[in-house]
Amino acid sequence: MLYRMINPPEISWIAILPVLLLSATAMLTMVADLWTDGPDREGLGWIGLVGLMATAIAAVALWNTKLTSFAGAVVVDRYGLFFTLLFCVAAGLTLLMSMSYLEQTDIRTGDYYSLILFSTVGMVVMATAADLIVVFLGLEVMSIAAYALAGIWRSQVRSNEAALKYFLLGAFATGFLLFGIALLYGVAGTTTLTGIAQTASGATAEQRTLLIAGMALMIVGFGFKVAAVPFHAWAPDVYEGAPTSVTALMAVGVKSAAFAAFARIFMHTLAVMSPDWSAVLWVLAVLTMTVGNVTALLQRNIKRMLAYSSIAHAGYLLVGMVAGGELGGSAILFYLLAYTLMTLGAFSVVIALGRRGQPNENLEDYAGAGFRSPFLGMAMSIFMLSLAGIPPFGGFVGKFYIFSAAVKSGYIGLTVIGVMNSLISVYYYVGVLVRMYMTDGGVEITQPSSRPYLFATLVVAVAGTIALGLFPSTLFEVARQSFLALG
């Protein structure tokens, strides 16, 4: 044999077990859909849930390891595993609520379930990526599935519009991200995060200029995905138009995944550049919190209001990034978990209030809801109060961590602005409570207990939101260890 053999890269199959399981589940769902129809479609959801469960178990089993695979392009550390678990929870709850929600829509295609799972695969890839190309790969897998999901309710004009808008602007933003990646590659000569970190720590003045330009473009790309002002304009339209369960996944999953990569690259790889990027993120955080909260005040549509709310929450998370350090990083992780539970819960309530042909998404429709369905009223109150940062719920503790981190790092001004913003936000969150408990009228409500999947989603979200408020220390410790795993 005269051929020189090419050595394949080392692949740690154990390391990529979670993402393999998830991908296999997604493909299985896709194929199984070909032979199912009608009411059997719930079964697809069940396949997805079992797959997510298996993924989560694999992730937990790997907790005490730190493995790399594909020549260091994928790193499975606690940080990545924390997010893997977070995405399993987010996708699992989304699937659960969807199994009730699809009944009240015209979405009759089982692709829905496989697309959710494919999107989740992309998220997991993003969170475990140690190479910019892999980050990009994950981002695209996640986003393309999300574009399709946004438009999956084909008979709805708003859904079509949402998909097209999300796709066009998303592609535009991806261009920025890719250009930023190209610049970093140009400087470092490699796309691996470790290589870039090395270059950054010993950068010459010229290299610094290119690094900064690359960072600026990546901030645009990630800023779009997390819906930070001024890259947020798509969010209200898309959140409102997309099917509610998809909106929920976009609001929590896509945002968390973007933050996972954003924080890994900026707070770890480019940590030495933090004096540069933190000044920009400071401004973005202030803009994002303020525009999000103030604009939410006048919204009449609950999904639109929650869209602005999710923009504002991206602002709080940016505060955590600016604060930096162990406390700031762990606070982001904890906050994302709390945010995931309460936001998914709020969207479940939106779904619970809707019925076939009658989405009931205006705030007026919530009038008296607290009396007609005490459980829904209580659940929504808890989610709203938690989102507003009122104790003793998870959202309060999350904000407390974020602002403590900012204070500890000396960002007093930013903390003042943040606290003021969270106080403005109380106005519109409590506005929902006012509708539910202090006005009459509104729409007829199907009791959530008659829709078991939705009911289960709500129970999990309520329990999680309360538990994170009362017993946050264990999970914060988990978040801290995860963040420290970045090294």
Partner: protein
């Protein structure tokens, strides 16, 4: 002597019961209220509070038996831990907390009992008691909390319940908006509270902190003066919101839209005193910032005078009491502001008795008059409602500062301390005391004396309230009399036992304690009795002897009369300066940032098809481009910013 005080803490395991019992009431009534019916709901709700009262009394007895300065402690579980922050869910009962939990559960219990009668015919009976129990639970967390973040849990909880209860009868538009106003105004205060907490955490320095009161006390001295002044000022902003002081008092008068027992419990006896409690709790921090204390005392004195002057002209019986509450809270702040923390807390306690009594009495009147609240359509009620009248009179004498009743001792104590701090503050307080005597007796004369001015139909149905309502009145009347005798002036009989009991808590604050000359003290006392009697006499002349006079005065001093009866136009001012601009900004951002795509699709789908379709179509395609351009613009800005920042 103060160095000798031991600060021993006894770990106990029953403190959690105090807030947990009302919480249990919430859970039971929430899940089973519809099944159980009114009887059971009306038994469970007061029963749980009575249980809490029992435990509270037990705690008080324990504290009295332990050496001075002891406290009972219970740490339930670690709560927020992050880096060098280790906050626990922990309760602590020292002398101050013991007084507070007894007042909250005791007065709370009486008001629950009263509510059973008052709310009997209300369709939302269970909902009412759920809110009321939830409030009690939150208030108890507030006063039991061992650290600032946990205190904030109670702080927000009582605010929320207060808000829910103000808007309880939401069929009237005004009530819901009053609730909203209360909440929004309180947010301003809460911002101060939270920022103060964060700043405190930041300035405590290295080492692990639990933000517990001992921890703060141990490290407070190392904080620079400027910082501690800022921290305490921010915390005081929180107190002005919750305790309705200038300039954030505006929500409290509107809060009277809620059911009257709620006004008695939340907006007179307990929640509104949270600000005073918080300052008393953090006394060691506030004494480090003399400037803040001056602000507190000044705001307190001014509020006392300002609110009392508005009270002179109100015709709604509850509004008079509301402004009176604002004014009396001003006294408490005056007290803590001049460093007389135990006097402030003493007035807090006696005020809980007599103002609770007055509100419940007014509730009894309103109940008897079938919802009438305007005093101009009352009169002569003493013959119809003798028990209500007698107890109400006792409450009025107590608040007016007539010697022998609770209000006299506590108010006099505050005024005496104010005098030794600044005679100007004392004078302001004295004027407010005269006004208080006047407007309270004006209320009594207009309501209970003279001819009944109600229409025949109402008059026919006026009746004394049932026993569930009158028994709490009688008990509170008794407390309004005897409640003051725990804190006699130093030169009388057993002296000020109350002060001695609380002294260890305020040990840090009592460095400069001084005893006044007995002659001066008697002179001050004579002055306050004098203005009280003067106020009462004036009210008698104007509203009993020569009832035509008030109208003439109003005509002659029309300008001042307008100003005061319109509450100095403060609400209008806030609306014009704060509320409208905020809404405009929101509207502007909405229009600019969120251009009307939805309008185009949802509301304007007809228009899209119609004649203006070309316009809308262009508008729509323009939008995605518009978004893209805004992103591009943002990207350029970031690059420019980097270029500028890194050079």
């Amino acid at each position: 002597m103060h160095e000798a005080i031991t600060h021993t803490a006894v770990a106990v395991s029953y403190l959690w019961l105090i807030p947990a019992l009302p919480a249990l009431g919430v859970l039971v009534n929430l899940s089973l209220g519809a099944l159980l019916g009114k009887g059971a709901v009306g038994f469970i709700a007061p029963g749980t509070v009575a249980g809490g009262f029992g435990v509270a009394l037990y705690c008080l007895v324990q504290i009295l038996q332990l050496p001075p300065g002891s406290a009972l402690e219970q740490t339930l579980w670690p709560w927020i831990s992050a880096g060098n922050l280790q906050v626990d869910i922990a309760f602590r009962v020292d002398a101050l907390s013991a007084v507070m939990i007894c007042v909250v559960t005791g007065v709370g219990f009486l008001i629950h009992i009263y509510s059973v009668g008052y709310m009997h015919d209300d369709p939302s009976y269970a909902r009412y008691f759920i809110y009321l129990n939830l409030f009690t639970c939150a208030m108890l967390i507030l006063v039991l909390a061992d650290n600032l973040p946990l205190l904030f849990v109670g702080w927000e909880g009582v605010g929320l319940c207060s808000y829910l209860l103000i808007g309880f009868w939401f069929d009237k538009e005004a009530n819901a908006s009053a609730g909203k106003k209360a909440f929004v105004v309180n947010r301003v205060g809460d911002a101060g509270f939270l920022l103060g907490t964060f700043l405190l955490f930041w300035s405590l320095g290295v080492g692990t902190h639990s933000l517990s009161f001992q921890d703060i006390a141990a490290h407070a001295k190392s904080i620079p003066l400027d910082t501690v002044t800022l921290i305490t000022l921010l915390l005081f902003v929180g107190a002005t919101g919750k305790s309705a002081q200038l300039p954030l008092y505006v929500w409290l008068p509107d809060a009277m839209a809620g059911p009257t027992p709620v006004s008695a419990l939340i907006h007179a006896a307990t929640m509104v005193t949270a600000g005073v409690y918080m300052i008393a709790r953090l006394n060691f921090l506030f004494v480090l910032a003399p400037a803040t204390l001056t602000v507190v005392a000044t705001i307190g004195a001014l509020t006392a005078l300002f609110a009392a002057s508005i009270g002179l002209m109100q015709n709604d019986i509850k509004k008079v009491l509301a402004y009176s509450t604002v004014s009396q809270l001003g006294y408490m702040f005056l007290g803590v502001g001049v460093g007389a923390f135990s006097a402030g807390v003493f007035h807090l306690m006696t005020h809980a008795f007599f103002k609770g009594l007055l509100f419940l009495g007014s509730g009894s009147v309103i109940h008897g008059m079938h919802g009438e609240q305007d005093m101009r359509r009352m009169g002569g009620l003493r013959t119809y409602m003798p028990t209500t009248y007698r107890t109400f009179l006792i409450g009025t004498l107590a608040i007016a500062g007539v010697p022998g009743l609770a209000g006299f001792f506590s108010k006099d104590l505050i005024l005496a301390h104010a005098f030794s701090s600044s005679p100007v503050l004392w004078l302001v307080g004295l004027c407010a005391a005269g006004m208080t005597a006047f407007y309270m007796f004006r209320l009594v004369f207009m309501t209970f004396w003279g001819e009944c001015r109600a229409d025949e139909h109402t008059k026919h149905h006026i009746h004394e309230s049932p026993a569930t309502m009158t028994v709490p009145l009688v008990l509170l009347a008794v407390l309004s009399i005897v409640g003051g005798y725990v804190g006699l002036p130093e030169m009388w009989a057993w002296g000020n036992r109350f002060d001695a009991f609380l002294a260890p808590v305020f040990a840090a604050a009592q460095g400069g304690e001084h005893h006044m000359e007995m002659g001066l003290e008697y002179a001050l006392m004579a002055a306050s009795v004098g203005v009280a009697v003067g106020g009462i006499a004036l009210a008698y002349v104007l509203y009993v002897a020569r009832p035509e006079l008030p109208g003439q005065i109003a005509d002659q001093a029309a300008g001042a009369y307008d100003l005061i009866s319109n509450k100095y136009y403060v609400d209008e001012l806030y609306d014009a300066v704060l509320v409208q601009p905020a809404l405009k900004l929101s509207n502007l951002l909405w229009r600019v940032v969120d251009v009307g795509i939805v309008d185009g699709i949802v509301n304007g789908s007809a228009r899209v098809v119609g004649a203006s379709s070309s316009f809308w179509r262009r508008w729509q395609t323009g939008n995605v481009e518009h978004y893209a351009v805004s992103m591009l613009f943002g990207a350029v800005l970031i690059l420019v910013f980097f270029a500028w920042h890194s050079s």
